[in-house]
Amino acid sequence: MNDNSINQYGKNIFYVIFTVLFLIFAARLIQLQFLFQEEYGVISKENSIRTVSIMPIRGYIYDRNGVLVVDNRPSYSISVTPAEFDIKNIEFLSSILFLDKQEILDRIARGKKYNRFAPTRVKRDVDFQTLAFVEEYAERLPGVAYQIESKRYYPTSAKAAHLFGYTKEISDRQLIEKGSYYKQGDIIGATGVEGGYENFLRGEKGYQLITVDAKGKIVGHFNDGKNDIPLVEGNELELTIDAGVQALAESLLTGKRGAVVAIDPSDGGIIALVSKPDFDLDWFSGVTPTEIWKQLNTDDARPLYNRATLTSYPPGSTFKMLLAAAALDKGIINENWRINCTGSFKLGNKVFKDLHVHGSTNVVEAIQRSCNVFFYQLMLKTGLETWTYYGKEFGFGSPTGIDIMEENSGLLPSVEYYDSRYGKNKWTQGYLVSLGIGQGELGVSPLQLAGYAMVLANEGKYYQPRVVSNIKNKENNNVLKITSKMRELKLAKSTWQLIREGLYRAVNVPGGTGGAAKVPGIAVAGKTGTAQNPHGKDHAWFVGFAPYENPKIAICVLVENSGYGGVFAAPIAGLCIEKYIYGEIIRNKISQQPIITDLKDIKD
C-alpha cells in the first residue's frame, strides 16, 4: 500500500467511530428491550387487544299468571369510536343522524374520557333508513358503526308505567355513585321494578378480548376466546301483579286523576297498582326526545308522579273502621253502644254536619251507613292518643316498605304533632272531631289504605306489600322466592267480626254507601270515603276486599276531584274485583252502566 501511515491512522478512526455507534445502538436496544420492556409491552397489548363488552339481555318480566308483560325487542344504535373517527366527517354524520353536531361531539368527548378505542353510542334506537345510510357510507365514515341492542317492549295492554318503571342511559353522576360495573352509555333501570330490581334484571356484561390491527379492524379473538368473560343474562322476574286487572284498572281510570292499588291479602303481593294520568313507557324504551321530557315535567297533571304511593290525602270515611277498632278493642264501647244521629253534632258553638239523619245507630250500622255523628262522638270518647296508637298499628304515618317505589309516609297526627304545631294546650277537642271521620290534618296514600284493607280482610294480618314474587336465575334456573314480612294486629275476634259485618252491609245491604261495588256472585265488603278538598271537588275513595269469607283481594281506589266515593270509586273497585276473581268481566256493558248512574244519589 502506498501510504501506510494514513491508512493505519484512518483505520483507527473508522474503528473508533463504528465502535462508538454500535455501542450506542446496543445501549439503546438494552434501554428499550430490558428497561422499558414492561412499559412497551403494555402499550403493545393495548395497541392490539381491545376489550369489547357484550351487553346481556335485560331480564324478562312476567305477571302472576306467567304472562310476559315486559319483553325485549332489537334496537339499533349508532356508535363512534373516538380514536378512529375522522372529525372532518362530523357534518356528514350529523346530517345522516339528524343529530346536532355539538351533541355528537359532546358524546364523543365523553366517550374519549373513558376509552378512546371503545365505541361510544351517539344515537340510540335509530330507524332503518338511518341504519341503511350508515351501512352504505361505512367506507367514508371510519369509526362509525351500528350495534344491535335490545329495548324494552310491553306486549300486553297492562302499561303499568309507574310499576314497571323505565330505563335510561346512565348519568355522569350515577357513573360515579354506582361503581365500576357501569360504563358510559349503559342503560340503567331508573324507576319502578326496573329501578328497584336493577341488579337482578341487568345481568352481567360479558367481555370479549379481540385483536385488532393498526386500523382498528378486528382480526380475530385473542387466545381463541379463552380469556373472554361470558355474559350472564338478566334474571327473569315474576311479579305478583295480574296483567288483566292492571289493564282494566288503567282503562277505568283513563281520563281521571287517581290511583288503584289491589293487594293479595294472603301474601301482600300487589295485584294491580295504577296511577293516572301516566305516561307511555315506549317513550323511554329508545331515545326520549327532549320535548317529551319537557312535556312530562311541566304537565300540571304530573304524569310522572306516582299517585298510588306518593299522594297524601285525608282518607275520609274509609278511616272510620280504624276508630271503631280502637274503641271496641279498648272496651270504650261495645256492639250495643248506640247514639242518636240527628244529622249534626254540636261541640261548643261549632256544628259538625252529617249528610243524613240516621237515628239510633250502633257501630255496625254506623259503618254500613257511614254515620258521621256516631264517629264524632266516638272520637271524643276514644281520645287522640288511643286513635294514634291504632293508626300506627294499621300502618299509617310510616312507609309500607314496598319493594320498588318511592312512597310517602303520610301524616298521622298525634298529641306531639298538635303540641308542636299549635303549642301545648293551645288546641282543643274540636280539632279532633273531624279526625274521627278521616278529615282534617291527616294524610294517607292509596297504598297505605290498600294495606289497611288487607288488615281488615285478614282480621289483623299485615304483609308488607311487594311486587316481585320470584326471581329466576337464567343460568342455573334457580328460583329465589320473595316473601313478605308479616305482622299482626291482635284484636278480639268479635271486634273484627263487627267491623267486617259493617263493611259487608255497606256494600250488600240497602242503605249502605258502597252498593256500587257489588259484584254478582261475589260477597264484596268495603267502605266508601269522600275527602273534602279545599282546592276543588272532593276526592272519592273506596277500600274493600272480597270474597267476604275468604278474601282473595284487598283494594283501594282513589278518584281525585270527582265527588262521592260511593259513586266514583266503588264501581271501579267492584269491576277490578270481578275481573280478578272471575278472570273476566261477566256483567255486560249495559248492566254495568246503571250501577254507576243509579247510585248517584247514594250519599256518603
Binding site: M1, R28, L29, L32, Q33, I43, T211
Partner: protein
C-alpha cells in the same frame, strides 16, 4: 484445494451476508404474513437468489477488468438516472424506478456501486493530487452529479447516502482535514440548527475550538466558520420552503410524541415493537405489532423491528453484531489490500453500508430523523438487495485480489 479456497474467499463476510439475507427473508415473511403482501416475500426470495449469485460472480471478475470498466459503468448508470427522470414510473411520490417485467430496477441503486468504482478509479490515479482544487472538484463532481439527479427524483435518503460516501473516501484518499471540516461542519450545523438555537450555538463553538486545534491558517478558518454560520441560519429559511411531507418528517423527528398519528406514528410504533419484544422476543409470527400491521409497509424501511419484536434482544443484537463484523472486516481489508484502488473501493463499500445501517437503525430506534433509507440485506427491495450483495461481492473480490498492486 482447502488452501486455495481460504486464500480466495473471505468466508466470514460471505457467511455474515448470507445469514443476514436469510434473516431478512424470514422478517419479510413475518411482516407480510398477515398484511396481504406475501407477493413481496416471493419476490424477495427471487431477488435474494439473484443477489447472492451476483455476489459470487463479482468475486471472480478479474481485478484489472473491474478497474477498466469502472468509468464506462459509471457513465451507463448516469445515463439511466437521466432516463428514469424522463421515463420512470412513479412510486410513492418519487420517480426512481424502471419496470423490468414485474421486478422494478432502481438506477440510483446501481449508481451507488458504479460511483464507488469510478471515484476509486479516479483517486487511485497517481497523477491526482487532492490538494489541487481542480482534482478535488472532479472527485466531488463524480458524486455530486448523481446526487443532483437523485434529488430531482426526489429521493432525499439516497442522496444523503452519496454524501456519506464522498467524505470518508476523500478522507481515506488523503484529503486535507480542513477540507473535510469544510464539508462536514455545515452539514452538522444545519441539523443542529433544526433542533434550535441553543444546539446551533454549541455546534458553532465546538467548530471554533476545532479550528483552533488544527491550527489552520486564520483566513481559511474564518471562511469555513462564516460559511458554516451562514448555512445554519439559512436552514431555518430553507425549512420553511421544504415540501410539507419533509417538514413533517423533520418535525416528527424533533418531537415524535407530538403527532402520534402523523409522521411520528411509525417511530412510536416501531419503538413499541422493539421494546415490547424484550429479551427473548414474542416468537416468530407472534409479534402483535408486526402481525397486526401497526407499521405501514414494515417490510421496507422498518424491517428491523420485526426481528427485534419477534426474536427480542437476541435477534436484534445478533443482527447488529453481523453488521459490525462486515464493517470492521471491510475497514480491515481496506487497510491491508495492496492496491490503492482496491482500498478505496473497500472504504466506499463500507461507507455506503455503514451509512445505510446507521441511519436506518437509528431511525427505527427513534434516534434519527425518519429518512427513507432501507436496511442492507434485510429490507425488501430488489435493486437495493442486488446493489448490497454486489458491494459485498466487491469486498470479497478485493480480498481475493488483496496481494495485487
Amino acid at each position: 484445494m482447502q488452501n486455495w479456497f481460504e486464500d480466495k474467499i473471505q468466508l466470514g463476510i460471505l457467511l455474515a451476508t448470507v445469514v443476514l439475507v436469510c434473516l431478512g427473508i424470514i422478517a419479510i415473511y413475518s411482516a407480510t404474513y398477515d398484511a396481504g403482501a406475501s407477493a413481496y416475500f416471493y419476490k424477495q426470495i427471487i431477488w435474494a437468489c439473484v443477489g447472492l449469485f451476483t455476489m459470487l460472480v463479482v468475486i471472480f471478475i478479474p481485478f484489472r477488468t473491474l478497474q477498466l470498466i469502472s468509468y464506462p459503468l459509471y457513465g451507463i448508470s448516469i445515463f439511466f438516472l437521466v432516463a428514469v427522470l424522463a421515463l420512470g414510473k412513479s412510486i410513492a411520490g418519487s420517480t426512481s424506478w424502471f419496470g423490468i417485467g414485474s421486478l422494478g430496477l432502481q438506477p440510483s441503486e446501481i449508481t451507488k456501486v458504479t460511483s464507488i468504482l469510478a471515484l476509486a478509479s479516479y483517486l487511485s490515479d497517481k497523477r491526482i493530487n487532492l490538494h489541487k482544487f481542480k482534482n478535488l472538484a472532479v472527485a466531488s463532481g463524480i458524486i455530486l452529479l448523481p446526487v443532483t439527479l437523485i434529488l430531482l427524483q426526489p429521493d432525499m435518503g439516497t442522496a444523503i447516502i452519496f454524501i456519506c460516501l464522498l467524505v470518508p473516501i476523500l478522507f481515506w484518499a488523503g484529503a486535507s482535514h480542513t477540507l473535510l471540516i469544510f464539508l462536514i461542519a455545515p452539514a452538522l450545523t444545519a441539523i443542529a440548527a433544526l433542533f434550535g438555537t441553543t444546539l446551533f450555538l454549541i455546534t458553532i463553538i465546538l467548530l471554533l475550538l476545532l479550528l483552533f486545534v488544527i491550527k489552520e491558517n486564520k483566513f481559511i478558518s474564518a471562511i469555513i466558520f462564516s460559511f458554516t454560520v451562514l448555512v445554519g441560519i439559512s436552514v431555518q429559511f430553507i425549512y420553511g420552503r421544504l415540501a410539507p411531507y419533509q417538514q413533517k418528517r423533520i418535525d416528527a423527528f424533533l418531537d415524535p410524541a407530538g403527532d402520534p398519528l402523523g409522521a411520528g406514528y411509525n417511530v412510536i410504533q416501531s419503538k413499541v415493537a422493539i421494546g415490547s419484544g424484550g429479551i427473548f422476543g414474542k416468537g416468530f409470527l407472534e409479534g402483535t405489532q408486526t402481525q397486526l400491521n401497526f407499521i405501514p409497509a414494515q417490510w421496507t424501511d422498518f424491517i428491523y423491528c420485526v426481528p427485534a419484536e419477534e426474536f427480542g434482544f437476541i435477534g436484534a443484537f445478533l443482527i447488529l453484531i453481523l453488521f459490525a463484523y462486515i464493517l470492521f472486516k471491510g475497514v480491515h481489508l481496506a487497510s491491508t489490500v495492496k492496491s490503492r484502488y482496491a482500498s478505496l473501493v473497500c472504504i466506499g463499500v463500507v461507507s455506503v453500508l455503514a451509512s445505510h445501517i446507521i441511519i436506518n437503525i437509528g431511525m427505527v430506534m427513534g434516534m434519527m430523523p425518519v429518512i427513507g433509507v432501507p436496511l442492507p440485506f434485510l429490507s425488501y427491495g430488489g435493486s437495493f438487495l442486488l446493489s448490497c450483495t454486489f458491494m459485498v461481492g466487491l469486498l470479497l473480490n478485493m480480498y481475493s485480489n488483496r496481494k495485487e498492486y
